[in-house]
């Protein structure tokens, strides 16, 4: 028994160094050599300031922007507090939250479901093409742009299924709104 305790202790220390220090540090070094931008979170910079990550959603709620999904990670899409709402399907709180979202988001016709439901991470970088198209009318009116121009902006931002098969078509909300700002700047 004593022998096993000695073995267990030595084994723990040695493999902890191998698996808990050497392994992750090796991957860190390799990651920075092979994929430096990806390893750091695909941060987008503008004039030397980090304006976001391509992978992490941002909140948009004003009329001039395409809105992102509701988030349980706080109003700022706090990426240090990722979370879903964890509200069940029969929760009054869920039904009430959805009704108030509908009241603020509604333009005409039924709202796409993703636009009024919170994502699992609270940081969803995407909305569905349906949700983007739904908002074209409002954004076009606010920005005094033609709906056709915005429809083609949305169309050019649709990310198709990966390898033509995996996942669902989507629109990256931060990329879409950054291009929207650019488009408005040009037309002004």
């Amino acid at each position: 028994m004593k022998r096993h305790l000695v073995t267990a202790s030595l084994y723990t220390v040695i493999t902890a160094v191998l698996l808990g220090v050497i392994y992750p540090l090796t991957i860190t070094v390799l990651a920075h050599v092979l994929f430096p931008a990806k390893a750091s979170g695909e941060l987008l910079k503008s004039n030397g300031v980090i304006v976001g990550s391509r992978l992490i959603g941002q909140p948009f709620s004003g009329p001039r922007y395409f809105h992102s999904r509701p988030s349980a990670a706080g109003a700022g899409y706090d990426a240090a507090a990722s979370s879903g709402s964890n509200l069940g399907p029969t929760s009054k709180a869920l039904v009430d939250r959805v009704q108030s979202s509908i009241a603020t988001e509604s333009v005409s016709g039924a709202l796409p479901i993703d636009l009024i439901t919170a994502s699992g991470s609270g940081l969803d970088p995407d909305i569905t093409p349906a949700s983007a198209l739904y908002q074209v009318e409002r954004v076009a009116a606010e920005r005094k742009l033609s709906p056709q121009a915005l429809q083609s902006l949305v169309a050019s931002n649709i990310i198709q299924r990966q390898l033509g098969l995996l996942g669902e078509p989507r629109v990256n909300i931060l990329a879409l709104n950054m291009e929207l700002d650019r488009l408005s700047g040009q037309s002004r």
Binding site: L19, T28, Q58, P59, P89, A110
Partner: protein
């Protein structure tokens, strides 16, 4: 449900099927200590490790010694994690200057990762330093998976060996599983994940200027409305890819971030999502082939594979169907699938995964004892959420956790053979071994500990408004589901959650800690005892009265026994939780 969704599910299964044989025969070679292509690199490391730790490579162990080595090792590694958590404020690689983890949470987490559960009662990005994640938690992702793998191999040896008293050497099995199976695959997988956008760095969190600053209105304790401006976003970073790879491959499931595999830094693309699901089943599916090879009956391995596949398909079919349904309580919303949206129940789901990949992930992660989530199970429809819950309640034997699924399934195999024997009135045999009363008693002990812990703790919690019910986020039958799911997940060493339940309280930290501990170790001991018992038996030749374990009939019987045992034990609890909620939802009730 869409055609594309079904196509993704079909391709997933095809790849699991195709990988089972190469993966399984590789593991047979590894554990029978035959030559592999990695030997030139790994043999010297292995020898050095044995010399440094005093392991005698050729030494064989009886089941009792195998079990005590495993228990001592688990205890020592658990203490290390507890120490790292408590001391993290004094240790390096803590750029956010996070304080020491509270004692009850540190205990809960140490047990959780030692038992391969990875239940998380905390939000990692605001609780655990990078060093704690790497040294305290990711190490357990390797160790607990390697322990599970070693135990499954020991059990298979128990079946394969004749008139022997020993089951192998725990330390050798542990080492070979780690060095030959888990580590090389993790290295490759981690780099693939980084190439898709999973982060891997040791930098402090980044602060980002929001493109559109937000105004937040909150009602304070005094009832006054206050408006504050949010202009920045904090982006948590970390050595994620290295941990993510082994988290999935080792069926651990403990997220680097609170949102687990729904977080874009853990699971950025549909491809990473697909590979993560595959990596959950890679080793468990391979083990069915290892079983067939090591006991000298590959057809038996495939018969077990077939039984698992049937149960997997039933789960994914139900879950996908249920999640694609509209929520009847929501009005004025378009919930239909079309070419521009996935539709269905999108609360708690990511747009890039949609319904099919969320339902498949939820099924796979609970078929195995993984417990990683890419969508929030608590927000699933009642019947959609019933699937992950039922998968765990059946014992996570549908491919199952690394190792744990295999030995869990073999307990059911023993029971099935016993029942078949009773039906024809002959002494039951399993691959030439007589199954006697002691084996069946131990198998029943294994099967009864599980519901005893789950239903016992759930019953106590629902009777206690002050410490049990006060943690609920949802009311009505969904509240019962939340508590039932928590104890099921802990005892089954799964680690996924109906996460609305606030489990970071003294009661839940302590009781879930006990549930995880009992669910792992108190079930391993009867399992190893059966293995030791089987190894010592004589082999008797098959006769006309022997029930064959290589046929479709056997697979059907096995599925039947699993479902009957599960239904008899848990149907009343499920009827009061998800099933009642479903009926009330259809009649328009909310809580």
């Amino acid at each position: 449900m869409t055609l594309n969704g079904w196509l993704q599910i079909a391709i997933f299964f095809a790849l699991v099927l195709l990988s089972a044989k190469p993966m399984g025969s590789y593991m047979t070679r590894v554990f029978e200590r035959r030559k592999t292509f990695l030997d030139p690199v790994l043999r010297p490391v292995e020898r050095l490790l044995y010399r440094a730790t005093g392991v005698r490579e050729g030494e064989e162990m009886r089941w009792t010694e195998y079990a005590s080595s495993m228990l001592i090792f688990s205890l020592v590694t658990m203490l290390l994690t507890f120490a790292v958590e408590r001391l993290q404020h004094l240790l390096p690689l803590n750029p956010q200057h996070l304080p020491a983890v509270a004692p009850d949470l540190a205990w809960n987490t140490a047990v959780s990762f030692t038992t391969n559960t990875n239940w998380q009662a905390y939000s990692p990005e605001s609780t655990m330093s990078y060093l704690t994640q790497m040294l305290g938690l990711a190490t357990h992702n390797f160790w607990s998976a390697a322990v599970g793998l070693a135990l499954a191999i020991a059990f298979i040896r128990g079946i394969a060996r004749r008139e022997m008293k020993t089951l192998g050497n725990f330390w050798v099995d542990l080492t070979r599983g780690t060095l030959w199976v888990l580590l090389p695959i993790s290295i490759v997988f981690a780099l693939v994940l980084v190439s898709q956008g999973v982060v891997q760095n040791l930098r402090p969190y980044d602060t980002v200027q929001l493109l559109e600053p937000q105004k937040v209105t909150a009602t304070g304790a005094d009832g006054k409305m206050t408006t504050t401006a949010v202009t920045t976003q904090t982006i948590a970073q970390g050595p994620v890819a290295s941990q993510e790879a082994i988290k999935m491959l080792g069926t651990n499931g403990g997220g680097f971030f609170n949102a687990n595999s729904s977080h874009p830094f853990e699971n950025p693309t549909p491809l990473t999502n697909f590979l993560q699901m595959l990596s959950i089943f890679l080793i468990p599916a391979g083990l069915t082939f290892t079983l067939g090879q090591m006991v000298g009956s590959p057809k038996h391995g495939w018969a077990v594979f077939a039984a698992m596949s049937v149960l997997w398909f039933a789960g994914v079919l139900t879950c996908y169907w249920a999640e694609a349904q509209p929520n009847p309580l929501l009005h004025g919303v378009d919930q239909r699938a079309s070419i521009t949206q996935a539709g269905g129940n999108m609360e708690g789901k990511e747009v890039r995964f949609g319904i099919a990949n969320s339902a498949l992930f939820a099924t796979v992660t609970t078929d195995a004892s993984c417990g990683a989530v890419n969508s929030m199970h608590d927000s699933f429809t009642p019947l959609g959420g019933l699937v992950p819950l039922t998968n765990i309640l059946l014992g996570e034997i549908i491919f199952g956790g690394v190792g744990a699924g295999m030995y869990g399934m073999l307990i059911f195999v023993v029971l099935s053979v016993f029942i078949a024997g009773l039906m024809v009135g002959r002494t039951p045999e399993y691959l030439g071994k007589k199954i006697e009363s002691k084996d069946v008693q131990l198998a029943m002990l294994y099967l009864l500990i599980f519901p005893f812990v789950i239903l016992g703790f759930t019953a106590i919690s629902v009777q206690a408004p002050s410490f049990g019910l006060s943690s609920l986020a949802n009311h009505g039958p969904h509240g019962l589901s939340e508590i039932l799911y928590a104890y099921t997940s802990a005892t089954g060493n799964n680690g996924s959650a109906f996460a609305g339940l606030n489990a970071n309280t003294h009661w839940y930290n302590a009781s879930l800690g006990i549930a995880m501990f009992v669910g792992r170790f108190c079930m391993l001991i009867p399992m190893l005892a059966i293995a030791g018992n089987l190894a010592a038996k004589k082999s008797i030749p098959a006769s006309a009265g022997t029930f064959p374990v290589t046929t479709p009939l056997f697979s059907i019987l096995l599925v039947g026994v699993i479902l009957i045992v599960g239904a008899l034990t848990f149907f009343p609890a499920l009827a009061l939780g998800p099933i009642l909620e479903h009926l009330l939802m259809l009649s328009g009730h909310s809580f």
